[in-house]
């Protein structure tokens, strides 16, 4: 056993690092490192830069224009880009709907949608959850009824509501689970459709988050017409495509790169902040807290590497649920400590200071303003994408056999 990178890993990491050093715009990097808010255009700029380099889709096979990287390479790429302060790539297109289109879409659908996801031309969002259907997704109610008219040919008419839709305000397309059959098992009446966000009858209503940010939405469908050609696979078979997608949603859930980035910032903060006139890091109680979470993060990182090493480049199994639990807990602790480090000054709310380019005078240090808000916002980590309680159920059933 050893932790020394192989020759090829070393070369690959150096290549990624050099690329980031050269290509990542400094304003974007600063925005990310300071925990401030990214604009839509920031995401798109970075996606175009990656696309140009041929790295637009780290998770895709080369046949569709992806990099064809194995799990270790993807992990290295994730870690390097994240710790350096690159924006995350928007997963809804690249990592969620694209694998479904590749696996179950028609060649026409593949040619129509995939290149525009890769290049960043189309921004996708998700239409899974409904107000009554969170953890119990199969109970979803949004109707899609078959219809025909001269103008649209065979099409579905969608009526209902989707919620916990992330960044749908930026989106060009939404993929939806809809109910095409109300009889029998709930899972057996679901279809998977792709909907143009510009369709008549779609309304996006912001849900303001507890930190004041707008990143999620309700999406209402009022007699929205969707061509039947936009359905993936067979009618009423959507549940199996959805499950396939959820399996693909899980990469990067350990958030190791993000946690390393936040830990590094926290250490810098603790050297600047003052307790009784001395650097906060000299306060043993606070220092112990940093040490403790650093150990946890090290253990998680090692666990990830163990799994990657054992998996020989193949995607991970249900162990990912364990990584997600620990990863979200650790990042939540790190953001909590980052807020604590700020003391009274962290209590000042200056939402304007989150915006890139803000030049006002902060309360506290330059790092202070977003910290409490980031802590608040990160409570979502243990809820969204399958709550940690659901993840524990998965480990309990799939790994422990309980």
């Amino acid at each position: 056993m050893n932790l020394d990178p192989s020759e090829s890993e070393q070369v690959f990491r150096a290549e990624v690092r050099a690329f980031i050093e050269r290509e990542l715009p400094d304003d974007i990097r600063q925005t990310v490192l300071m925990g401030r808010e990214l604009a839509k255009e920031d995401y798109l700029r970075w996606q175009r830069i990656l696309y140009k380099r041929g790295w637009g889709a780290p998770g895709w096979p080369t046949a569709f224009g992806g990099t064809g990287w194995n799990a270790v390479e993807k992990h290295i790429f994730d870690e390097e880009t994240t710790t350096a302060g690159a924006p995350g790539q928007i997963a809804f297109g690249l990592a969620m709907v694209a694998p479904v289109i590749m696996a179950y879409g028609t060649p026409a659908q593949q040619q129509r949608f995939l290149p525009r996801i890769l290049s960043g031309e189309d921004w996708w969002c998700q239409g899974y959850s409904e107000p009554g259907s969170g953890s119990d997704l199969a109970s979803l109610k949004m109707r899609a009824e078959l219809a025909h008219d001269a103008e649209n040919g065979n099409h579905y008419i969608l009526n209902g509501q989707k919620t916990w839709n992330t960044l749908g305000q930026h989106a060009d397309w939404i993929f939806c689970l809809v109910r095409t059959n109300i009889e029998g098992r709930p899972q057996a009446g679901i279809s998977f459709v792709l909907v143009d966000m510009k369709s008549t009858g779609i309304t996006v209503r912001p849900i303001i988050m507890l930190d004041g940010g707008h990143e999620i939405n309700d999406v209402f469908f009022d007699n929205v017409k969707v061509p039947i050609a936009n359905r993936i696979g067979e009618e009423n078979k959507g549940w199996s495509y959805a499950k396939f997608l959820l399996g693909h949603e899980r990469t990067g859930l350990a958030l190791i790169g993000q946690s390393k980035r936040v830990l590094k910032r926290l250490k810098n903060m603790a050297a600047l902040e003052r307790a009784n006139g001395r650097p906060l890091i000299e306060n043993q109680r606070f220092r112990d807290r940093i040490a403790r979470v650093e150990i946890d993060l090290t253990a998680l990182d090692m666990t990830m590497m163990r799994l990657l090493s054992a998996g020989e480049g193949k995607p991970l199994g249900p162990e990912v649920s364990m990584l997600k639990i620990r990863g979200t807990e650790i990042l939540q602790v790190l953001t909590e400590l980052s807020m604590m480090a700020c003391g009274h000054a962290g209590l000042a709310s200056l939402p304007q200071a989150w915006k890139p380019g803000w030049t006002g005078v902060p309360i506290g240090y330059a790092h202070t303003p977003p910290m409490a808000g980031v802590y608040f916002n990160m409570r979502k980590l243990s809820i969204f994408g399958g709550s940690n309680e659901i993840q524990k159920n998965i480990v309990s059933q799939m790994i422990l056999g309980l």
Binding site: S135, D136, M209, L210, I216, A275, A348, S349, R379
Partner: protein, 382 residues
């Protein structure tokens, strides 16, 4: 030993509950926190009418002679109703300082105005370069012929921009005492040289950074009779009172959160059953309930010990209470959000607002680590 409320206190509690339920809805609060001052004058007038602002002061000064336990009841209602008015800043902090350290003339002048609701006050004490330490004051009040000249900067002055009068801690410096003596001064926030940088806090209260540049104070500004009583023990006592009050407020907020979460567990269905039928969530809810009950016990202890003549006993109880209440608040706040799922992280429900207030309480006037330090170090003295 008697840990039940008196008839009068039960009546006060009842009044407060009715007030919160009837006059301080989530919608009402939403409008108040969105307003320019971030507080509601009509509600403050109601506070005065109900006698809440007169509670802790002697009858001589228009007060009602109430105890720290009465303050606890008010603060608990503040927590339950998520009320944002400056009760802590005006009544507990500034009022407490005036009551404990003011001269007869000062008490006669100011306390009745607090009691009748016409005067809002703030306590400008903490400074940058420190964290929660009580005795780190660099602000200077240099004696001149007829008074003082005040220079310095104060941070996290709760409701500092809303106050009509400030109490400012500063070193009283003159030739015989070049290092200065820690003292308290009444300062008019409208005086020349006072610069107020107001802001909204994470939990939608208001606070300010306030700088003083050559602010002229007259001779009567010094709180109390020319250092008859040292200022530091007074400040310690009033910050203990503030922490005891914050503990009570947290208890009110936790109780409201637990109630809402329990209700949600009973009504929210997934997989065809209420989510409260899942044992892991049931046990979580038991942990939250238990934490809130322990917190309530410690808030009561702190309030009772606020009346102790033994400063060490009082400080221990307030510090210990803040440690336990902070940890309970963290658990209850985080888990109430978690158990509400996506709804818990939205601005629309009051859940996140309670969570944010609880989080802020933990970081106000000393966090759990800071207060644990006091409790821990007191083991060395023993």
């Amino acid at each position: 030993m008697n840990l039940t409320l008196s008839e009068e206190q039960l009546a006060l509690q009842e009044t407060l509950n009715r007030f919160v339920a009837k006059d301080y809805s989530f919608k009402t609060r939403h409008d108040i926190i969105g307003s320019a001052t971030g507080i509601s004058a009509p509600h403050w007038a109601q506070f005065a009418e109900l006698g809440l602002l007169a509670l802790p002061f002697a009858e001589t000064y228009g007060g009602l002679g109430g105890s720290a336990v009465d303050t606890m009841l008010v603060m608990e209602a503040m927590g339950r109703g998520l009320m944002v008015e400056p009760y802590l800043a005006t009544v507990v902090l500034a009022g407490g300082l005036l009551r404990d350290a003011g001269s007869e003339a000062q008490k006669e002048l100011w306390l009745p105005q607090i009691a009748d609701g016409s005067l809002l006050m703030g306590f400008a004490h903490y400074e940058t370069g420190g964290r929660y330490e009580i005795d780190r004051v660099a602000t200077r009040a240099q004696r001149t012929g007829g008074g003082y000249v005040l220079n310095g900067t104060k941070t996290f002055v709760l409701h500092g921009a809303q106050a009509n009068q400030l109490i400012v801690s500063a070193l009283d410096i003159h030739d015989a005492q070049p290092a200065g003596t820690l003292s308290l001064f009444m300062v008019d926030p409208n005086a020349e040289g006072v610069n107020i940088h107001a802001y909204v806090t994470q939990d939608n209260l208001r606070a300010a950074e306030i700088s003083f540049t050559d602010v002229k104070l007259d001779d009567h500004s010094l709180l109390g009779e020319a250092h008859a009583v040292p200022a530091l023990p007074t400040i310690e006592r009033v910050l203990d009172a503030a922490n005891a009050a914050l503990c009570a407020e947290a208890v009110g907020a936790m109780e409201a959160l637990n109630q809402a979460t329990l209700e949600y567990l009973k009504t929210r269905k997934q997989f065809g059953v209420p989510i409260g039928s899942f044992q892991a969530l049931q046990h979580r809810m038991v942990d939250m309930f238990t934490a809130a009950e322990q917190a309530r016990s410690m808030a009561i202890l702190a309030s009772i010990r606020m009346q102790s003549a033994n400063a060490a006993e009082r400080r221990w109880a307030c510090a210990a209470a803040k440690v336990l209440v902070s940890e309970s608040a963290r658990l209850v706040g985080q888990q109430a959000v978690q158990l509400h799922g996506g709804m818990g992280v939205t601005d629309e429900l009051n859940i996140s607002h309670y969570f944010k207030r609880l989080t802020a309480i933990c970081a106000t006037f000393g966090d759990a680590d800071y207060h644990l330090g006091y409790v821990s170090d007191s083991l060395l003295a023993a």
